[in-house]
Symmetry: C6
Subunit: 206 residues, 6 copies
């Protein structure tokens, strides 16, 4: 997976941690929204399980949008495109779920994601975070790059023992049970603030 | 299948009992609804038979909604997403039918499902409950967890003899012929009350 | 195929006779209609030929609806779901054609089907009834259950010789050339009455 | 292929001649139209080439409808269903083209087809009739049944030598180059009359 | 490929030159348009490459229609059907591109195509004509029939040496780089005239 | 890949550099837009990865269009057709991403592309340019033709050492990290000018 330069907090992009045959990798997930009809476009040679993860993430984002009092036509009159570079490398599995959810929610709330946070975890449509595989390799990959903080499922707490102490000490590690906890860590603004401020509309030309 | 924490009565989620090569398992089924066009989204690596079960459950739910005098646009102007974690594990068979129906009906009536009830049974579009396989293994799985009550098809009554007495004594076991009986046991409010109260509208931002 | 209890004359359900490698079987066919866009949903692991049969049955039902002066939006603004339990057992062949047609026409005219009538026969879109296979095994299956009357294609009259006399005597057997003859036997009201009474509208909440 | 009784001149049904491994056969083609959105439904286990033939026939019928000054919404607001019994027998090839076209045009003009005419020939979207295979076997099949007249492509004139003289003498044989010639022979009213009379509207309940 | 009689200049039909394992062939391409929703129907057992060629031809035709100031709803409110007889013979490759384009443009401008012109060449969506294979065999096929003029890609000029002198002398041969040059040769009216005359509307009943 | 004459700066066409088993190649990419419903048509035997690249390019173009203050219905009420001649040659991979993006953006801004510029690079939906393979072969192909300037990903800078010095000296070589840099080099007008001038509407007949 390519090492795109990613040194700024940006809207609609989040750092995931992938696990391949050759070890762990950081993996950028990009989300863009545009005037549309409520479709979800998925590119980057994603497998069936990863595509379903993206749909689960989108469904959760729609529920959160109600709580945040966002206008419902941000989904019905827009299309969402989730792209995972590099385009020619097949990717699969459910562990990018919370990363996709974070990128989508960043896009709909126009809130940047901290560029030095990386994350891994399966998401359910109610926002629960389920455990994933390859934690050790993913932690090593995070430490190799410019990542300072990683977010992992509570259900993987036991696997932290397998991660070398040096790596654990070099990273701020959060274990979470729900995507709302992920968002508090990864987004540059807290959800509580957004809920108070009421509608946060995407800047779209109409 | 993952052991998501599930210690509260929630709307749109119900406990199923699955039967795999390695024994019985509890299996959460999540349902979320959102502004849409009447589509049914199915994720969690469901096989063809299980997908058809979900369609049968939805058709029954639409008929029940008429009896409960719910507004018909809860189906025509909303989408329903049924997700069965964990996302990477293939699942199939008709035995989740009544669990899917219960989760959908919980969602459309905004009525929580008792978190300590688990169930198994095929559903037909008229709401009849048909027998399933693996009753013994499913009962064992229910007893292992925090489940107090299980609902099974009348047609499986004969298979109760295969379940160890200790397990039978530790669980409240209901045998049913129709999904309405399941709902009386699993939902926190009775259908009769709902029918009296008239329309029970989902809280949706418009 | 499961032996659902079916002891009442009901709307939208009819008894078919199936022929499998292990002999004949009775087979319930359920039809439900709901607010929709004119779609036909087919579940129960139906093969291609059986799906085409259902489409042929629906087309005939649409033509009959004109004769009965039913409102045309009972098809354009509703969806029809044909389900054949049990959900996990693959089924195929054209011989359920007249059973599907009977269940659909029961549903659109809100007329119950006699629960002790079973039937078998291919249907064409003009309502002609064509011969089927396995008549002997089907007659035996009907006699085993609570069926009193069977309806079979005129083209299978010759095959009645293969049915044991005892079975033939225990059943009322009708041979038919057109689905209208089937409906006169299977429905609890005659088509002539319906045509006189004019529009018979399904009770649908709008 | 089944020998449906077909002893009356009917609307929307025409006799084709098929050629299979076991010889020639007569083959009924049924067409029904209904309130719809311009779709063409094809059933009877038709292969790809035969499906394309049906589309070619429909396109020609649309062009002819302009000449006959039929209302254009007989296509845009109706669906057409072409069914070829028996439902379980696979059929393919382009030679049913003119039979399908005749049945469709019978349906849209509400003009019966002579029940004792059978035909075979490929059709193009401009209405040209192209030669087919198996003429001898098809002629034999026609003579075996109640067919009095057959219509064949001009391009098959040379193959008539292969047909036994006795058969040729027992049938009225027409060779044609365009579907308009077929229609003059097969329909019970001439196109010229229809064109004079102006609009011939199908009797549809609205 | 069949030798349909084609002795008149017609609208919506053009002569192509095909190259098969058994040599060259002339090949008629028929186009019909009808009231519709902007769809392109392709029949005649066309392979993927040939289908894409037809889409390229249609896109070019849409651009030309702007230059000719044709009403834009000739595409958005009509369907186009491209059929290549004989219906049972599989056809593929990009070399029918300019023939399909010519037939479509004949249809939309209501301008007949010279029946004694045949052509071969790949088309791009900007109307460029690219070289094709089998020029020699195609020229021989053209000479065998009633074709007087052939149009070939400039990029195949070098291959003319392979064509016997006798054949070259018997045909008028044009080499072209753009479809506009093809149209000047094949259509019975020049594009310049059409552009001057302004809108040339197809005679469609509405 | 064919050597179409391409000696003028044109709208909606850009020079790519492809890498095949037999070496490098220049490859024209054509884009045409037309009245439509927001669809993207892709022809030229493109593989899955290349199709996804085109979708990524289109998504980026939609975002850029907002910055350029183009009317949003240039996407919702138009279709885009991306064609890569020659039509019969299969093509795949992500490296045509920036070429497709350039051709699309040329088309929507009605700005010609310099005909002597060629380019290669994967694009992400945020417009980032990622490295590609076969740089040496592509540079050689560019030098063989009439190309004067090539644009390559910054991430391929290290691979320039593999390119013979003579070739490097004969070409103007730009390394880029974002598609905006590509557009400044390849388009005949700068984006800054377009942004100042406000809306640049495609000349479309309505
Ligand atoms: Ca990486
Ligand atoms: Ca964005
Ligand atoms: Ca479990
Ligand atoms: Ca919910
Ligand atoms: Ca049974
Ligand atoms: Ca019903
Ligand atoms: Ca026959
Ligand atoms: Ca009819
Ligand atoms: Ca020929
Ligand atoms: Ca025409
Ligand atoms: Ca080249
Ligand atoms: Ca253009």
């Amino acid at each position: 997976l390519p090492d795109e330069e990613h040194s700024e907090d940006s809207i609609g992009v989040a750092n995931g941690l992938a696990w391949t045959q050759v070890g762990g990798e950081t993996m950028l997930i990009e989300v863009a929204s545009m005037v549309g009809k409520g479709n979800l476009m998925l590119t980057g040679q994603l497998g069936e399980v990863m595509k379903e993860s993206a749909h689960a993430a989108l469904t959760y984002a729609k529920h959160l949008a109600l709580d945040l009092k966002l206008k419902s036509d941000i989904f019905s009159k827009r299309d969402y495109h989730v792209h995972v570079p590099a385009g020619a490398i097949p990717k699969d599995g459910p562990s990018a779920g919370i990363t996709i959810a974070t990128a989508i929610i960043s896009e709909i709330t126009r809130t940047p994601v901290h560029h030095d946070v990386a994350m891994t975890g399966e998401i359910t449509i109610r926002g629960n975070v389920l455990p994933i595989g390859g934690l050790k390799e993913k932690a090593l990959a995070a430490a190799r790059g410019s990542v300072k903080t990683i977010v992992i499922p509570k259900g993987n707490e036991k696997d932290l023992n397998d991660v070398p102490k040096k790596i654990r000490d070099s990273l701020e590690i959060h274990t979470v049970k729900h995507i709302r906890e992920v968002l508090e860590i990864a987004l540059t603004k807290s959800l509580a603030t957004m809920e108070k401020n009421g509608e946060t509309e995407p800047t779209t030309k109409k």
